[in-house]
């Protein structure tokens, strides 16, 4: 019985650095390892001793593609310690900003990182040679998201306008949004085309049984708020996260694997949100999803490209609603008093739930911090899916199977840079 080893030493088109190792014996998959060798960055450690107000600006540096997500989870956690809850126009502005991030992050992945796989191109540059209009469409959509973030947050990368309690500055009039509003209306039309185009791609038959985990809110598609739920009965407050989930260090990865204590691996991100919250999508999104034949639950990770496209459409739709209904707040931020305590924040980054927990002393200094990014929560599930994916494709030539495995990993849009922010380092000297 022959043994094959497939090694992809450097995964292209995922954020950060990672490698894949699969070992087979005959037709049986013996071992699968998603190896992360991005250097850990110790954010949880150097947050200690910093002022609580610095948390959004420091944690935004964990990721250049989803800084808003880190800022939102951080400020929610700090606000829970101070006993305030941002509501009204300030809450709406936070949702609006998050919509901008979803648009630009999801669009980048759909068009520049994922689409080449389905059309047999090495990368988006090659795709653009034969399909310039498709790529141009994606770039216009991404630009709309970037401009939304720049307008509200000061700049696209590492935004500067988010603070505990709200913002440093907010638009003073509804008509200030007019230029952006027009762009988002055009973006919404492009998003509809994106859904229809994504749904026209060819997908392997690869339905999996997942435990989907996401936020759920009584009234809205989740962005900043909600309880943590799953399709297998989990329904907890965000404060209970660590009672049900734990991070485990695995030898082959710098990133910690997060698992459900009682059931192991689970999936966060667009498929989870969509499958758990379909009836909270806007009517337009539900209509378009039905039109393209996407059911209210999606369990094929290759079809995540369609789900991301639906979420781009939702983000455009929701952004337009917020801008059209905008009423300037009395103040750009809520006042608060420094308190000591433990605070929790959990918001829906483009890739899934992002959990923050901070302990703050009476001086307002951070005593300790815990950050669990979505990609570290998905890693175990990605390995599980690869094990299932490789088995029926085992007879493919190695080059083809390697390419398919890479594509399978890209289904999850892993942000490996986020997932390696922390590691307990033990040095053992063997002499």
């Amino acid at each position: 019985m022959s043994t094959r080893t497939i090694k992809v030493d450097y995964l292209a088109r995922v954020e950060g650095e990672g490698a894949l190792y699969i070992k087979t014996k005959g037709k049986k998959v013996e071992d699968v390892k998603l190896k992360i060798f991005e250097p850990p960055r110790f954010f949880e450690a150097f947050l200690q001793g910093r002022r609580m107000e610095e948390a959004p600006d420091i944690t935004a540096r964990i990721c250049g593609i989803c800084p808003i997500a880190y800022q939102m989870s951080a400020v929610h956690a700090m606000e829970s310690i101070c006993g305030i809850q941002v509501a009204g126009p300030l809450r709406e502005l936070r949702r609006l900003m998050y919509c901008g991030e979803w648009i630009e992050s999801h669009t980048l992945h759909v068009y520049l990182l994922h689409a080449p796989d389905f059309l047999n191109y090495d990368d988006a540059v090659q795709l653009a040679k034969d399909h310039p209009q498709v790529v141009q469409q994606g770039l216009e959509l991404k630009k709309a998201g970037n401009e939304m973030i720049s307008f509200l947050a000061g700049r696209e990368i590492h935004p500067i306008n988010v603070r505990v309690g709200g913002f440093y500055k907010v638009p003073g009039r509804k008509k200030d949004f007019d230029p952006i509003l027009e762009k988002l209306k055009k973006a919404r039309e492009l998003a509809i085309k994106t859904v229809k185009w994504a749904a026209s791609l060819s997908f392997p038959d690869f339905e999996q049984e997942y435990e989907f985990v996401s936020l759920q809110h009584p009234k809205e598609y989740p962005l900043n708020e909600g309880r943590i739920v799953s399709n297998k009965g989990l329904n907890i407050s965000i404060q209970e996260f660590e009672q049900h989930f734990e991070e485990v260090h695995v030898p082959h990865s710098n990133a910690l694997h997060c698992v459900l204590k009682i059931r192991g691996d689970y999936l966060v991100g667009p498929m989870a949100r969509y499958s758990l919250n379909f009836n909270r999508l806007s009517p337009l999104c539900q209509e378009i999803a039905r039109e393209v034949g996407l059911e209210s639950s999606c369990r094929n990770p290759f079809k995540s490209i369609i789900v991301r496209a639906i979420e781009i459409l939702y983000a455009c739709d929701e952004a337009i609603r917020i801008m059209e209904e905008y009423e300037p707040p009395d103040q750009p931020f809520m006042k608060y008093e420094l308190k000591e305590g433990i605070g929790y924040g959990c918001t829906e980054a483009p890739r899934g739930i992002l959990y923050h927990r901070y302990q703050v002393d009476k001086e307002g200094l951070i005593v300790n911090a815990k950050i669990v990014p979505p990609t570290s929560q998905n890693q175990k599930r990605i390995e599980h899916d690869l094990r299932s994916f490789v088995s029926p494709n085992i007879d493919l030539p190695k080059k083809d199977l390697t390419w398919k495995c890479e594509q399978a990993i890209r289904n999850y849009d892993p942000c490996i840079s986020c997932a390696t922010h922390f590691l307990k380092l033990k040095i053992e000297n063997i002499s």
Binding site: G64, D123, V125
Partner: protein
């Protein structure tokens, strides 16, 4: 200012807080202050280089200045005519897989028919990219030479 014949633009690419990676933006800021370069438009690009082509129009003449990270001697200067051939991608580092580096960004522009009338790229070999470090002296020296090259292209022959 954009005329019927297009503008002359110099775009400095890089992060000023990352040592020699800041050579592009810092050069641009120096030249912006000079009267002899007053007819040139100067731009900085410190973030996403994926859509560089949005910083120029088809009739423009453009010079890009960026750091090179090839392991060569600090301060070495490379000059490329990006209209005639793709840039060697191994010279221009990619800072993230979520953005296109300069060489691939130019190829994307080429695929989409978005190249300007003239596109020169100056690369200066950097040595240190540590956070908040100063420019290497040889890199600083190279900035002077690149300034003269830009003058020859955009001022002396204007």
């Amino acid at each position: 200012m954009t005329s019927v014949s297009g503008s002359k633009r110099v775009i400095g690419i890089g992060n000023e807080f990352r040592g020699d990676d800041g050579v592009g933006p810092l050069l641009v800021r120096q030249l912006r202050q000079r009267k002899d370069f007053e007819k040139i438009e100067f731009l900085e690009c410190s973030g996403d280089t994926t859509v560089l082509f949005e910083k120029w129009n088809p009739r423009d003449e453009v010079i890009l200045v960026d750091v090179i990270c090839s392991g060569g001697q600090a301060g070495s200067i490379y000059k490329f005519d990006a209209l005639s051939a793709p840039l060697p991608s191994d010279l221009f580092p990619s800072v993230s897989t979520h953005v296109l580096d300069v060489s691939r960004s130019i190829e994307l522009a080429r695929s989409l028919g978005r190249l300007p009338k003239k596109l020169l790229v100056f690369g200066i070999e950097g040595k240190s990219f540590q956070t908040d470090s100063k420019l290497n002296l040889k890199v600083k020296k190279a900035m002077e030479k690149v300034t003269e090259e830009i003058r020859k292209e955009f001022v002396d022959y204007a």
